[in-house]
């Protein structure tokens, strides 16, 4: 078995200063980073859609919808 099990995780252990098990680990840093990523995604999405895309007139519209709008 070559999967590094808890006993045989010898390679990284040189720099491991503590063992953190499953139940004692809360990935708060990941949560913070990914939250940041989420905010960036939301901002960029709206920027791209409403500024870059809709601001790039003219745009293809459906002919019929426009006729209705004119009436």
């Amino acid at each position: 078995m070559s999967q590094a099990t808890e006993e045989s995780a010898s390679e990284p252990s040189a720099e491991t200063i503590r063992e953190i098990g499953h139940d004692e680990y809360d990935p708060v840093g990941t949560f913070a980073l990914i939250g940041l990523y989420f905010l960036i995604l939301v901002f960029l999405w709206f920027f791209m859609y409403f500024v870059e895309f809709l601001g790039n007139d003219p745009t293809v519209v459906s002919g019929t919808a426009v006729v209705v709008a004119l009436v």
């Binding site: 745009t59 293809v60 002919g63």
Partner: protein, 267 residues
């Protein structure tokens, strides 16, 4: 299965994100009426475009008060017509097909962009509010000269815009004393009647005629100048209607060598 609370929250957030993306696109489609190029149009034989009513003569046509249709053919390595001219404040429906390989029809710096696939016709309706000039690029690789495939779209002000076609035809030779008759056809592809003046200039002579060309129709007329006033020799002539002109030349001879050449010179 043992999923950490933070990852559960992230899972929910990711789903919200996905749904929000789909909702935005749907809002664009339904709320703003942004339509996709689709399967609205029937297929067409790419080798028989020449006989097609719409693509045989690629052009812009008026179909409603401010509505126009543009029939565009993309081919290696150009667009027909080129330039495409439409008026401002208009709604233009482009019908684009390809004669040979897959191209695109993309108006640079705008959201007007479609593939042009042989056998298929792309339909796109676009509103042009302001006058301006745009470049058209082919953004699908279509062969060794792909980078030279470009066209132009001119959105012109309403006064400058027309869909008038002028053709004029005159005799090659006339005998002194006979009249030089230039047959003029003025075609008006706009819907409104066109009231305009047809002018023939030949040498120092100028003849004009007021014509009214009904919308979607053509008017034929003949403008005549007495060749005696011109004198013997070669004379260039030009027929002008608004911004359009058509020209030719006529030789006034002492006597015609060949009667058959003269054609019908009587009214």
């Amino acid at each position: 299965m043992n999923v950490h609370t933070y990852e559960k929250i992230w899972l929910v957030a990711a789903m919200v994100l996905i749904v929000a993306f789909i909702a935005t696109i749907t809002y664009g489609s339904v709320g703003l009426g942004i339509a996709m190029v689709g399967d609205q149009q029937p297929t067409i034989e790419p080798t028989e475009l020449g006989d097609d009513e719409r693509f045989g003569e690629p052009r812009v046509e008026q179909v409603g008060e401010n509505e126009y249709e543009a029939y565009v053919v993309a081919q290696t390595f150009s667009y027909q017509p080129d330039p495409i001219e439409v008026p401002e404040d208009s709604q233009v429906t482009f019908y684009v097909t390809a004669r040979d390989v897959i191209h695109s029809f993309s108006i640079a710096g705008t959201n007007v962009n479609t593939m042009a696939i042989p056998g298929e016709i792309a339909e796109m309706t676009v509103e042009f509010d302001e006058a301006g000039e745009y470049g058209i690029v082919c953004n699908e690789y279509c062969g060794p000269d792909h980078h030279n495939m470009e066209g132009k779209l001119h959105v012109v002000s309403a006064d400058e815009f027309d869909l008038t076609d002028l053709s004029a035809d005159g005799p090659d030779e006339v005998a002194v004393g006979d009249s030089v008759d230039v047959d003029v056809v003025v075609e008006n592809r706009q819907l409104e009647d066109l009231e305009t003046t047809v002018t023939l200039e030949i040498g120092d002579e100028t003849v004009s005629e007021e014509v009214t060309v009904p919308g979607g129709d053509a008017v034929e007329t003949t403008l005549s100048v007495d060749s005696s006033a011109l004198g013997e020799g070669d004379h260039d002539w030009t027929v002008t209607v608004d911004d359009h002109d058509s020209s030719g030349s006529v030789t006034v001879l002492e006597e015609l060598d060949d009667d058959a050449d003269g054609g019908e010179d009587d009214e």
